[in-house]
Symmetry: C2
Subunit: 523 residues, 2 copies
C-alpha cells in the first residue's frame, strides 16, 4: 500500500503506487537524487558536501520523507493485530511496541502495516542515526564490499580481510575519541562492555604480577579451570546506581536500572556507587548539586579503598540513559577521572547510547574536557556495530587468544558504520544536532512554563537532542503519543526520553512540540 521502495536497475527510488491513499507529499533535491540513485565514485559524491552544509539549516536533510505524521487507525490497527497474533505463536510479543513496515518508513518517519506514519523520536531505542531508508546507506548496502562482508563472514581474529586495517582506519577509528587509537570489535553493547571488563581484569592482574613477562603460575592455571582464585580473579567492576550496561552475566552485574532486568539471574558481588541526583533547573540548585556530586565522589573513593572485592575499573554512562536520563556535571566526571587515576583504577565510559552525535558532540564525554582521556570507551547502537576503543597498549593482554572469539564483530556492520560516518560528515549532522537540540530545548522550556508539572525536571540543555523530562502520567503520555502521530520512548520511572535521529531538524521539532502539547492537553 501507499508508496513503495522499489529498485529500478540498481538504483532505489521512492515511488507513489497508483493506489496510494496517503497524502504524503514527497520532494527530491539534486543532492538527494545524487546520493540515492547513482554509483558515483566517492570523490564526486563528496562534492555535494559543501552545498549540503549550506542548505542544511533551512532545507531538508532527508528529501523525500513525509511532511508530517499520518494516523489512519488506532495503533495497532487491524492488519498489525493479525500479524502480531501470528508472530506470537513463535516469538514473545509482550514487549512489542509497534509492528513496523520498514519499507514504508522514511527519514524521521516510521510506518506500520495499517498505513500509519509517525514522527519517530525513539528511533529503535536510539539506534537509527541517519534516517530510515537513507539513500547513502542503500548505496553502501549494494556495494560489492558490503556483499562480500555479508556472505564471506570472517573469523576476524584469525583470518582478517586483507583490507581490514583500511576498513577500521577509514571507519570506526576515524571517529575514535581523542587519545584512543586502538579498537576491539564486538557485536552489541553488552559484549562491548564485557570485553572491556575482561581487558580491565587482565590488565590489573598483569600489573599485580609485575608485568607482561611474568608467566602464570601452575596454581593460577589449575584454579582457573575450577572457577576459583587465584586463577579466576577476585576483583570487581564498580558501576553506579540506576546505571545500565547490558544484560549478559557480567554486564548485568553492573546494571542497576530496574529489578525486572536482574531478578533470578546470578550476579557477581560487585560494588555500586551513588550517581548524583541533580535537581532542576540546574541554575537554581547550584550548591545542592555540587554537594551531591562531592558526596558521590567521596563514596566512589571509599568503595575503591574498602570494598571486599576490589574494583579494577569503574564503568559509567555520560548520561544514564535507561535509568531515567540522569546527568552529572563535567566537573563530576573530571573528578572521577582524577579519583580513578589516583587509585590506579581504569575508567570505562559507556557511550553505547550517548555516542555517535546525539549530544551535539560525536562522543558525549567530549563535553567534559578531561585532562586525561578515559582508558576505554564502548560503543554500539547508532554505530550499528559495537566494541571498545582503548589507547594504552598495556590493555592488549600479554598473550594472544585471551581476548578472542570466533567473529569479533561483523565486517558488514563495520562497513555500514563507515557509510554512516560519511553521511554524518557530508551533512554535518553533529553540528545540526547541537543546533536543533538548542532550538528544541528552548521550545520545551516554553511548554514547561505553560504546563506546570507536565514537563518536570527538563534536562539535557546543551546536550543536543538528548533531552528528557518527567511526566506524572508518563506511561499514558507515551501511549497517547501514537494517537497524535509521534513515537516516543521512556526511561527510568517517570522520564520521557527524546532520542531523535541526527537528521532531526527544526521543522520536526515544531511538529514534536505541537503534538506534545496536544498530548498533555489530552491527559
Amino acid at each position: 500500500m501507499a508508496s513503495r521502495v522499489l529498485r529500478a536497475g540498481c538504483c532505489t527510488v521512492l515511488r507513489s503506487a497508483a493506489s496510494a491513499p496517503v497524502s504524503v507529499v514527497r520532494a527530491r533535491s539534486t543532492t538527494a537524487a545524487a546520493a540515492s540513485c547513482s554509483f558515483l565514485p566517492r570523490r564526486t559524491y563528496r562534492q555535494f558536501t559543501a552545498s549540503a552544509r549550506a542548505m542544511s539549516s533551512s532545507s531538508s536533510l532527508f528529501p523525500g520523507e513525509p511532511e508530517g505524521p499520518v494516523v489512519k487507525t488506532e495503533i495497532p490497527g487491524p492488519k498489525s493485530r493479525a500479524a502480531i497474533a501470528e508472530l506470537d505463536e513463535v516469538f514473545d510479543t509482550r514487549s512489542l511496541n509497534m509492528l513496523t513496515d520498514y519499507q514504508q518508513s522514511s527519514g524521521n518517519y516510521i510506518a506500520d502495516p495499517d498505513g500509519n506514519i509517525l514522527l519517530d523520536v525513539y528511533a529503535q531505542i536510539a539506534s537509527i542515526p541517519v534516517g530510515y531508508n537513507n539513500p547513502s546507506l542503500i548505496k553502501a548496502a549494494h556495494s560489492d564490499e558490503m556483499v562480500n562482508g555479508l556472505i564471506n563472514r570472517p573469523a576476524l581474529g584469525n583470518f582478517p580481510p586483507k583490507d581490514w586495517a583500511d576498513v577500521l582506519k577509514s571507519g570506526i577509528l576515524k571517529v575514535a575519541p581523542k587519545g584512543l587509537n586502538q579498537v576491539f570489535t564486538a557485536m552489541a553493547g553488552s559484549d562491548a562492555n564485557e570485553t572491556a571488563y575482561k581487558a580491565a581484569f587482565m590488565w590489573r592482574r598483569q600489573h599485580e604480577r609485575g608485568g607482561a613477562h611474568v608467566e602464570f603460575t601452575e596454581e593460577e592455571m589449575e584454579s582457573a579451570m575450577h572457577n576459583k582464585s587465584p586463577g579466576a580473579s577476585q576483583l570487581s567492576i564498580m558501576s553506579f546506581k540506576t546505571g545500565f550496561h547490558g544484560r549478559l552475566f557480567g554486564s548485568l552485574s553492573t546494571t542497576r536500572s530496574k529489578p525486572i532486568h536482574k531478578l533470578d539471574i546470578p550476579a557477581f558481588d560487585w560494588p555500586q556507587a551513588t550517581f548524583p541526583a541533580l535537581k532542576y533547573p540546574l541554575d537554581q540548585h547550584v550548591e545542592e548539586n555540587r554537594a551531591a556530586e562531592k558526596a558521590a565522589l567521596d563514596e566512589v573513593e571509599h568503595i575503591i579503598k574498602n570494598y571486599h572485592v576490589p574494583p579494577c575499573a569503574i564503568i559509567i554512562e555520560p548520561i544514564q540513559s535507561e535509568g531515567g536520563d540522569n546527568h552529572a556535571s563535567p566537573e563530576f566526571f573530571r573528578g572521577l577521572r582524577e579519583v580513578t587515576r589516583k587509585h590506579n583504577i581504569l575508567m570505562i565510559v559507556d557511550e553505547v547510547q550517548t555516542g555517535v552525535g546525539a549530544t551535539g558532540k560525536f562522543w558525549a564525554h567530549e563535553h567534559w574536557d578531561l585532562p586525561h582521556p578515559p582508558d576505554m570507551v564502548t560503543f554500539s547502537k547508532k554505530a550499528q556495530t559495537a566494541g571498545y576503543y582503548f589507547g594504552n597498549p598495556e590493555l592488549r593482554p600479554n598473550k594472544p587468544y585471551r581476548q578472542f572469539n570466533t567473529w569479533m564483530g561483523d565486517p558488514a556492520r563495520a562497513l555500514l558504520f563507515r557509510a554512516i560516518i560519511d553521511e554524518i560528515e557530508r551533512l554535518d549532522l553533529v553540528n545540526n544536532t547541537a543546533k536543533v537540540g538548542d532550538y528544541l530545548f528552548g521550545k520545551l522550556e516554553g511548554l514547561a512554563s505553560k504546563y506546570p508539572g507536565q514537563f518536570e525536571n527538563l534536562r539535557g540543555k546543551g546536550m543536543g537532542t538528548f533531552i528528557a523530562f518527567d511526566n506524572p502520567k508518563r506511561d499514558q503520555f507515551l501511549a497517547a503519543a501514537k494517537k497524535f502521530g509521534v513515537n516516543i520512548g521512556g526511561s527510568g520511572q517517570s522520564a520521557v526520553r527524546l532520542r531523535p535521529m541526527l537528521i532531526f531538524q527544526e521543522k520536526h521539532a515544531d511538529i514534536l512540540i505541537d503534538r506534545m502539547e496536544k498530548i498533555v492537553q489530552s491527559l
Copy 2:
C-alpha cells in the same frame, strides 16, 4: 590480481582479469548460472533442485571454484606481511592465522593477498556453510529484503518488521530441532548460550515460587538490585570438563577448555562434571568406554544432588569441539536426558559448532534418538546468526522485558541463514556431507594404518565430515599444512580437527588425503 568478482548490472559473475597469472580453471553448469546470475522467482529457482541432487554425487557442487590449491609464496608472503604490520598498529594480530583475500576465495578455497589458494577445511572456525562467494548468497545479499534488513536495523523485541513471523518460519524455524518450535534470536554463540542460561534460571525460580502468577517479593526486588540473593538466585549451570561454551562472563564460567581462555576473569562458582574419555577405536574398547560413560553419568547425578550451588540446567556439546573433538555415545546422551528429567534439571544442547549439517544430520543431537527433545538447543557459526530454540512455553519468562535487549539478533543475518537453508536443501548438502564424511573417514583409516601414530584416535565415524585425530606434532602439522596447500585447524591439546564446508566432495577429500600424507612425510 587473478580473477575478480565483478558485478555486471545486478548480476555477479566471476571474471578472469587479463593479467591473471594463476592457472585456476573454472567451469560453470546451467544450475550454477541460474543460481548466480538471475533474479528468477523462487519457484522457478526450485526447479533446479531435482537435477542438482541427481548431479551432486559426481559433478561439482560449486562450479567455478579452483580445481586445486595453488601455493606461490611462503605464507604469509610479502604482501601479507606488509598488510599485517599495518593492521597491527590498530588491531591485535597475534592470533592472526592468515590474512585473507575474500574476493579471490571461492567455494572450498581460501585465498590470500600473495596469490596463494588453499583448500579450506577450517572454514572460519567451522562457520562457512556453503562456500566462499556462493552465488545464491550473493543473490540474497542483493535483494531488497536484505538491503532493508541491513540499513533499517530494528529493535526486534519492540519494533519487529511486519514480516518477521514469515522470516522466522521460512528460515530459522524451518530447521528447528524436533519438538522445539520457538526461538529467541541472539548475536553470537556466547550470548545464545547466556540467554538460554537466563531462561533456565527464570524458569527454575518460577517453579520454586509456585508458578507464573506468583509475584516477586519486595525482598527479591530489593536484593536483586544489590546482586544478592534471594533476588539474584543462588543457582548454577553445570557444564563438562573440556567443554567450550563461549567467553563472556556467564558462558566463560561454563567453559572448561583451556586456562588461557579463563585466566584472570572472575567466574561463578558453578560445577563441572567429567566428560567420558573414550578410547579408540571404539569397537576395541566397548566395555571400558561403557564404564567411563556410566561413571560420568553417576558423577552428574551426584553433583545435581550435592553441589552447594544447585544446578538448574546442564549444558553440553554433542561433540566437544574446542576441547579436542571429544565424543560420547548416543546411550550416554540418552542417559543424560533421563537424569536431567528425573531431577527436573533442564538440558541445553550447545550446537554452536556441531549444528547445521556438518555431522551428516542437520543437528548433531539427531544422532542420539532421544525419547524427549532437549529443553533448549543453541546455534550460531554456520547459521551466520545465533540464538536458542525451545519448545516449552514455560521457558518464556512470566513477564515481558526479562529476556530482552535492543537488537535481539540481526534481521540481515536471519535472512542470510534463510538463504543458506535454501541452498542446503537445493543441493541436498546434509546428505552430501554424510556420504562424503564416510568416504573421507575410510581414507583416513587407510592413512592411519600406513602411518602408525600419526593419525591417532581417529574419531567422528558416521558423523559426516566432523572428523578429528591426534598427531604428536600437531602444531607443526598445522603449520606445514599451508605449505602443502591446505588450511586446517586444531582443537584441544593435540587434535587436528577437520571442519570442511557442506559443499566438500570426494574430489576435495582426495586432495586433502594426498596433502595430509605429504605433511606427515615432511614432519
